[in-house]
Symmetry: C3
Subunit: 424 residues, 3 copies
């Protein structure tokens, strides 16, 4: 995953344009079942309209001495996203109105965009900005803002059942690592892993979209289908560093996705931070909006806004996002999928406790406290009344889903319980 992120690093992504297309094609190499879709500029999508397509060739800012002080060939964060084309000479004074930097982080190039109002600008490390000399600067922003289309990728991996698990990630940020390259590389890895599974209970829908306008566009095209089929959804973002685990709930807060995510995170190696709906900031804003109400949550490492390198050039693949961090982000989603695939409602076939001893499941020598395993079997059996799912039983008995699911399987193999898969 870390290598893939490096390959995608310098592609100049935005919410539309060839950067997104090139990124999607790279992902297609890895996931041949990924299809690329184009939605024309101007298409009405819910309350929005697909904007003109923006393509960047190169943007440079040259100082009075002829030195290039900002160049998107070196770092594509140097230009304000969706900058209009400009080629002219400006004084430093005028230029300042078009410069962005962060005084508190003097070495960070900030990430700035102006999608829905025409502007132009450069982003610089504050230290560099402060050393700019008075005089005349050459601004050269070679971009095109023309009718085109919005691109997104989609993978449908069929399962035994039309009920769906929905996985969404975004591909609109230029060279930053935790937010966002970690999202698409982890989502692609999930897609590869799911495609390779011999059997899937759920159908999986995995989309690679530009944030906000992409989820709005996707909802506009698929809303009734999504509302009908999606049982759990995950917005995959900020899954690449090693510093934290984080949870962002759905608006509803108690959907299947929330329950599964909380279980996974509670049984993770380190404590996690549970944010609230009021802390949201990504595509759950659309997926969980009133009248849409998809069961979408985020399981993250360090959440957007909450780490110092967020939305700057410091969010990189060296000091922030690591192979171990990405593996942890992937593991959260793999475990969630495994729970969804394996969750069931077990129902006892006997009245009272079964005689485990004659089935070899219980010590026949009674001497005080029994060993852990039969206790777990009996605890689990005591909730097999058809009212609780394996996941709910795991919560009640305070064990991991997988220990309880193993116990259920053992009981089923002895004909002690009936097991009905559950999708809810």
């Amino acid at each position: 995953m870390h290598d893939l992120a490096r390959r995608l690093w310098s592609i100049p992504r935005s919410i539309t344009g060839n950067g997104v297309r090139q990124t999607l094609r790279e992902l297609q190499n890895l996931c041949p079942n990924l299809t690329i879709h184009e939605v024309p500029s101007g298409t009405e999508v819910l309350d929005w309209r697909v904007p003109d397509e923006w393509n960047l060739r190169r943007a440079t800012l040259t100082d009075p001495d002829g030195c290039v002080v900002a160049d998107t060939d070196i770092n594509n964060l140097h230009v304000v996203g969706y900058s209009e084309p400009v080629h002219r000479l400006v004084s430093l004074e005028e230029l300042q109105n078009h410069l962005h930097s962060i005084p508190e982080q003097p070495d960070a190039i900030p990430y700035v965009t102006s999608y829905y109002e025409r502007r132009w600008g450069f982003c610089l490390a504050h230290r560099d900005r402060e050393s700019l000399k008075p005089g005349t600067y050459e601004v050269k922003i070679d971009t095109r803002l023309t009718a085109g289309s919005l691109s997104y990728g989609e993978i449908i991996i069929p399962g035994d059942h039309p009920d769906e698990v929905f996985i969404s990630t975004y591909v609109c940020h230029p060279s930053m690592a935790n937010n966002e390259l970690s999202g698409p590389v982890v989502a692609a890895e999930i897609a590869r892993w799911l495609t390779a599974r011999s059997k899937r209970r759920f159908t999986y829908r995995i989309v690679f979209i530009p944030e906000t306008i992409g989820s709005i566009t996707y909802l506009a095209r698929h809303l009734s289908q999504l509302k009908e089929r999606v049982r759990a959804g995950f917005n995959v973002t900020c899954v690449g560093d090693e510093r934290a685990f984080s949870y962002l709930p759905s608006r509803n807060g108690s959907t299947l996705a929330d329950t599964v995510a909380r279980h996974v995170l509670e049984h993770a190696s380190t404590a996690y931070t549970a944010y609230t709906w009021l802390d949201r900031g990504s595509d759950e804003r659309q997926y969980c909006a009133p009248g849409i109400d998809l069961p979408v949550v985020s399981m993250m490492r360090s959440k957007y806004w909450e780490y110092p390198e967020y939305h700057t050039s410091l969010d990189d693949l060296d000091s922030v996002v690591t192979p171990v961090g990405l593996a942890g982000g992937f593991a959260l989603h793999r475990l969630a999928v495994e729970i969804l695939e394996r969750n069931s409602v077990p129902t006892t076939r006997v009245l009272g406790e079964p005689q485990l001893g004659r089935r070899g499941l219980y010590s026949t020598l009674g001497a005080g406290r029994v060993s852990a395993s039969p206790v777990l079997l009996l605890d689990v059996l005591s909730f097999c009344d058809g009212k609780y799912s394996t996941l709910e039983i795991a919560r009640i008995v305070g064990r991991s889903f997988f220990e309880v699911a193993d116990a259920v399987d053992l009981l089923a193999s002895h004909d002690l319980v009936d097991v009905i898969p559950t999708f809810a």
Copy 2:
């Protein structure tokens, strides 16, 4: 309000009689829409009977040296309320059985009544009682206890809707300030303010009654109407000092009145004390009784029983009740009314987040964390699914009702939400 309290101070109020009538007439000067009602002695009201009317001309206690040691012309707390007429000479020893004082508060004249059993007595500061000399005392209690009527005041302020807000306060206590003159003066001010409003959603019913027997009498006369119409009610008492804010819930505990009162108090400048139904002690005892179940709460400053001057001559307009204290008590009720008048269920008209930017409601320059106002707009919008009232949204997003109501109004002005007034 403090001046009005001074004017009402020395009127010798009790649960019946001219003291109540005179008080109601003073309030009528201020609120011409106040009507005065009389209910004859002996009338059966629920489990009770309206008692004979009690009128005090003057009561004096003269010591063996001819010095007047208690005189209701000086402080009308000196006589036990509802004392029967007496004029005789008694020894100090016999007199002691008729004297009331508080050893722990030697300078306080206690407030004592005997409404439903014939007695007579004097109330004295304990310091004065201890200096009484042996000998013969002249007891002169010039009262009349005769058939008459119970008086109460009522103001009906019509609104657009027959649903009512019920405000009740009591006018049966002689010269004490927080309990009770603060109640009627604040309630009168609420009545004046409501009458002057250009528009009212609710109809307001404001009553000035003697405590207990008055609320029982009023309920006996209006029960079915009150049960049908009242959506929220406030028993206005102990609203005049500056030392505390207090909340006494309805028996139900989660009526609209409870929700509004808790919201107002949570957003008050200082912390408040939340009492329970078991701490009750005023007319909510009747209004919330089984089978009556009106949604009546109290928002108070220092609650009855809970401040040292309670039910003594120390509860005065100088050291206890102040203009600032009364203004705070009034403000609680004004804010509660404003919430009730303005509460609504907002429902979004768009799917997904609307594009606030093109409506001038959101910065078009994306650079990290957005400013507070659009965040509040989006937080509020995210709960505009027709399931939550403005008041409930305010609780969920942790803001004051008024901030959220302003946001709802702004959204409505951009046709982003439909707003349905709610009375529940």
Copy 3:
């Protein structure tokens, strides 16, 4: 109760056999309404089968010097329960495979059984085991394991109503005191006390059974009747020491039995430990199993597993179980029964607060805070709306059931409330 426990002490009980029968006959002397039932070996009961009957004459272990080092005539814990008959010479080395002791408690003879697999063995204090000399030992276990029957006792004490309170205790443990002789002696005392009552609202069903196989057998024979009639049940175990009070909930956790037990324990003289369903270990495992779901809880002194002498010879009638401990265990169940017998739904007959003063229930001299008793009357009355039982009102007003029931009775004697007995 302590004397009865002494009389039952040395009877060699197991889950079947003459030890149980002799114990039941001793209890019958005390409770003539106890009937003894026999269920033949081999009978299928739910998922189980009644095992062969086991009878012990004597088991001895003689060392190479001819010294008897274990003798069931001295302590019947010395033989593994359900040991098969053996008479042979074995080396110490071979013998060690058949010995049981507890290194951490070198003076304790452990309690070990092997009901469902044929074995033989001796239990020794670890100190004695360590001093065994090398050489040849004579093993003499004079037991019979033959078809016979499982015995249990049952007492039905009829009441005014067919709804039942179910009390279960077990009689399968040899010489141990808290677990278990405390159970049957307290249950027998409850039976005597209930039989002697002049009047019972509920019918009482009290059973003395072997643990696990006995409750399974009893359920197999009476399930539909129990499910239909039992409103509350108590598994009486570990009710004899003075060190703790403990509560083990039903699986459901909020049945009438749970509510009553928690109330009794909350008002006990000392704090109690509330265990969870996951801490269970006795016949509630059967009574509360899925599909059976009887409302059965345990109110205990020191719970099984939780005291150091548990399941060893140290659990005796001298240092562990005391007359005071047993009296406390009995009191918990007597109070629970008294609550069940007396619980009702009181409904006010007046609207608003009644005039307590004219009924002599309230001071007619109003002077501040009223005394405790009328406050309780008014607090109770305020919940007499037909929605709350006396027990629920007690919880809400924070008083003991009996104080509130006395208040309800006083109100009823003044025709202020109607009282409907409740069985739920």
